[in-house]
């Protein structure tokens, strides 16, 4: 079920009403939310529910087993360590089967063909269940947190099932931790004070970003240029690259805004997932603003276990690079994602080296100019990496980049409106947070009738400005 649809609106009305009516009855409320989440996920394909149920059962059991194998003081034991490893292997095995099996087989068979050995490869054309990467990562974090003694109270299977399957974050995040979610299951939010103004603003902003901005950029320039870069000239290609950077941000952060707003209406607060990433002055800063819940997952469950920055500089650089490569592969089984991760990893390493070398040195330039140059560099490196993220193959990505230096080619799709949308979207990143917050406070003071009119007008406007259908969110495929 997609968020900006009539189906979801009807579904949510039922869930909202049921949730607040049942909230005082803790067990009934949990069953109701669980059933709602299963309906939401099963709407795509009821077969997915088997996998989700299995994931819930296996990880809950492993979490309990890990907890019981800790010392009474919560210290790790050999058995707990092994159980955590088993949990990680099982989860990554599931993810690997659905996500990487065909990629692995086709890579091997291509290599064998290239040396003259013909193999009848068993490509299974496995369909990737929507959101699998998100709930698998949440499950891993749950078991590891218990194994580390950080999360001292294993959840009941009902609580764990609600945590893992909660519909608002199930298919595209944010990646919420049990320690953030579970306490909210026991809390009893006051139904007289729901943060509706903040939620409505988030939902409207998310829908506008997804349905209007993202769809417009995709149709206007991104899809045509990436589909056949050889037909386009440098201006169209450059704008398509910038447009894709905005498109993926609008698409993904739009979904997250809706998810956070929807959860907020039910009295659940999710962690922030985006914080104006395109105003970052360094790539490290970018990663503290882009898909923040994935960044901290990679930091806590990959970077730190690899040694983090506790070893030599060389080891720190290796760890950074490896984390970005694995982060790239998390997005999908394609060499394009590996290159995307490698660009980020290399630049993060280079950034650290340069910072250390230039520590204490002054460039002698006005600070504002230095900041502008830093921003320009980081933004363009991020956009360069997005080319590989979006392209079907590494060859196609290079073909597109090569067109930046072409002497001819079409400028179809380039328009003043397109440029305004790109520039306006980038500029919006620099709007101070206090402005939308003030708007929320102001909106909250409106009479209900005015709020109704504003919400209805917003919905009509989004529908009118958007395309005829709603394309799935880009991050569903991950």
């Amino acid at each position: 079920m997609l968020f900006p649809t009539v189906d979801f609106a009807v579904f949510f009305l039922v869930v909202f009403t049921g949730s607040w009516l049942l909230r005082p009855h803790k067990i009934a409320w949990r069953w109701f939310i669980l059933a709602s989440s299963f309906v939401f996920y099963g709407w795509w394909d009821w077969n997915y529910l088997v996998l989700l149920s299995l994931s819930i059962g296996i990880n809950w059991f492993l979490g309990l087993a890990v907890f019981r194998s800790l010392t009474p003081e919560g210290e790790r034991t050999n058995i707990s360590r092994w159980l955590v490893r088993i949990a990680v292997v099982v989860n990554l095995g599931i993810l690997g089967y659905f996500k990487y099996f065909d990629f692995f087989i086709s890579t091997i068979t291509d290599k064998m063909r290239s040396i003259g050995i013909s193999v009848d490869a068993p490509i299974l054309n496995i369909i990737l269940p929507i959101g699998i990467s998100f709930f698998i990562f949440q499950a891993i974090s749950y078991v590891i947190d218990i194994g580390r003694g950080q999360w001292r109270k294993p959840l009941t299977i009902l609580d764990f099932a609600v945590y893992l399957s909660f519909f608002a974050h199930l298919v595209a995040g944010p990646i919420v931790r049990a320690s953030e979610f579970a306490p909210q299951l026991d809390a009893l939010p006051d139904p007289r004070y729901v943060r509706s103004a903040e939620a409505f603003m988030l939902i409207f902003r998310g829908m506008f970003k997804k349905v209007v901005i993202s769809s417009f950029l995709a149709i206007q320039i991104v899809d045509p240029v990436f589909a056949n870069p050889n037909a386009y000239g440098p201006l169209a290609v450059l704008l398509a690259i910038y447009a894709y950077a905005i498109q993926i941000y609008a698409d993904f952060s739009g979904y997250t805004d809706i998810a956070i707003g929807v959860a907020l209406l039910l009295g659940i607060r999710f962690p922030q997932n985006f914080d104006s990433p395109y105003k970052a002055l360094s790539l490290q800063d970018f990663w503290s603003r882009w898909h923040m819940t994935l960044s901290r997952w990679l930091r806590d469950y990959l970077y730190i276990p690899l040694g983090g920055n506790r070893g030599s500089k060389a080891m720190t650089y290796r760890n950074l690079f490896l984390v970005m490569i694995i982060g790239g592969l998390w997005h999908g089984a394609n060499w394009t994602f590996v290159v995307w991760g490698a660009i980020h990893g290399s630049y993060l390493v280079a950034e650290r080296i340069v910072k250390e070398k230039w520590k204490g040195h002054e460039l002698g330039l006005p600070p504002l100019l230095v900041k502008a140059m830093q921003w320009f560099l980081v933004f363009n490196v991020v956009c360069l990496a997005w080319v590989f993220f979006r392209a079907t193959s590494v060859d196609e990505a290079f073909a597109l980049l090569g067109r930046l230096f072409a002497s001819s080619g079409s400028s179809a799709g380039v328009s003043l409106l397109l440029i305004l949308v790109i520039v306006g979207s980038v500029a919006s990143q620099f709007v101070p947070q206090r402005f939308p917050q003030k708007a929320e406070v102001w909106f909250a003071t409106w009479a209900p009738a005015l709020q109704i009119a504003a919400l209805a007008g917003g919905l009509v406007l989004v529908d009118a400005l958007g395309p005829e259908g709603i394309a799935p969110f880009i991050y569903f495929q991950f």
Binding site: Y193, N228, A231, L455, A464
Partner: protein, 347 residues
């Protein structure tokens, strides 16, 4: 705000938006074929029509230039065509048109168009035909279009009003990927996709569109490309059945040459294949990640296959029409002589 009041605000806002947007919702519902939901959408739309509430939305649409046409008046278009054809020789129309051989000095006008699948293919086709030196290509694709939704994009009208007056000698056309959706029949009823009544209406539209493409002097060939097989997870439907309709309707129209794309994008069992070897034996990705649209490589492959087919109808010897082995399909691949009414397991 209290939860009780929030539910009132949400319900009221949705109701107001639903009423104002009723026409848009009905259009989408008609396309998807929502059963009982479609009935509700119709009822709401009729209420808003009576009360003129849809005025707000239609004003916005009008300002944006969206969703203006609602009907496909094929009969009227056919009548106009028929007038132009009076001078045409009935006998000539029974033969495959014989077109003069193009040369660099007298290049042939070739038009390629269709839905979003034609985007990648068409861009490749435009580039490759241009490189032969004997064609003057025009690309004309429109995303999310087909023959099912003339309210969204009226192809027959566009062909007659905008394309045929430019007098192309060859048209290469491809539809189907967006057509596996419900249609409004001639009597205003919603026809459920791929049902018998749907097939009848779709066949009628295909036949009418093909008839529109006949030139009065029998000097135009249309290469009607069937849709390729779609990959898993695409949720498209009826590609095989639509292919059958195109092929069978083309049989009685010599000016329409059906081109069977299916074997060029499937394995030996005619099952979708994302990666396939070209004539040089190297396996390459033929489709984009969505398993629907062609990759550039796939677009090139289809382009050379279509040019090869054109070469069987028109003398292309004056042009550079020998494809690089890395772009063309293996020579062993051929079109099917007969298209089956359906393909088991096809998306």
């Amino acid at each position: 705000m209290p939860a009780g009041l929030i539910i009132v605000v949400i319900v009221a806002a949705l109701c107001v938006a639903g009423l104002v947007d009723a026409d848009s919702t009905l259009r989408k519902s008609n396309a998807k074929g929502d059963g009982w939901r479609n009935e509700i959408a119709k009822t709401v739309a009729s209420v808003t029509d009576t009360l003129h509430i849809n005025f707000f939305r239609s004003s916005i649409d009008s300002a944006l230039g969206k969703n203006q046409g609602t009907k496909i008046d094929v009969e009227e278009l056919l009548r106009q065509q028929a007038e132009a054809e009076i001078a045409a020789s009935a006998e000539a129309a029974k033969k495959v048109p014989e077109l003069p051989a193009p040369t660099p000095a007298t290049p042939m006008k070739i038009w390629v168009g269709g839905d979003s699948i034609t985007q990648t293919f068409g861009i490749s086709f435009q580039r490759i035909t241009q490189s032969t030196g004997i064609f003057t290509p025009t690309l004309d694709y429109h995303i999310s279009t087909g023959l099912s939704r003339p309210d969204y994009y009226n192809w027959p009208e566009h062909l007659v009003k905008d394309v045929l007056p430019t007098n192309p000698s060859i048209l290469v056309i491809m539809f189907g990927a967006n057509d596996g959706q419900n249609m409004i029949g001639a009597n205003g009823k919603v026809l459920e996709r791929t049902s018998e009544p749907w097939m009848t209406e779709y066949r009628r539209r295909v036949a009418a569109t093909m008839d529109l493409l006949k030139s009065p002097d029998n000097q135009r060939i249309t290469i009607w490309c069937g849709p390729p097989p779609m990959g898993p997870g695409t949720k498209t439907r009826g590609m095989d059945q639509m292919s059958y309709i195109y092929w069978s309707e083309a049989q009685s129209r010599p000016w329409i040459q059906y081109f069977d794309t299916w074997p060029f994008f499937s394995d030996a069992n005619f099952v979708f294949a994302a990666s396939l070897p070209n004539a040089d034996g190297v396996v390459r990705g033929m489709r984009q990640k969505d398993n629907i649209h062609f990759s550039t490589v796939g677009g090139d492959r289809l382009s050379w296959a279509v040019i090869d087919r054109i070469g069987k109808l028109v003398d292309l010897s004056a042009g550079k029409v020998t494809p690089p082995a890395g772009q063309a399909p293996p020579a062993s691949l051929v079109e099917r002589s007969e298209i089956p009414p359906s393909m088991p397991g096809a998306e």
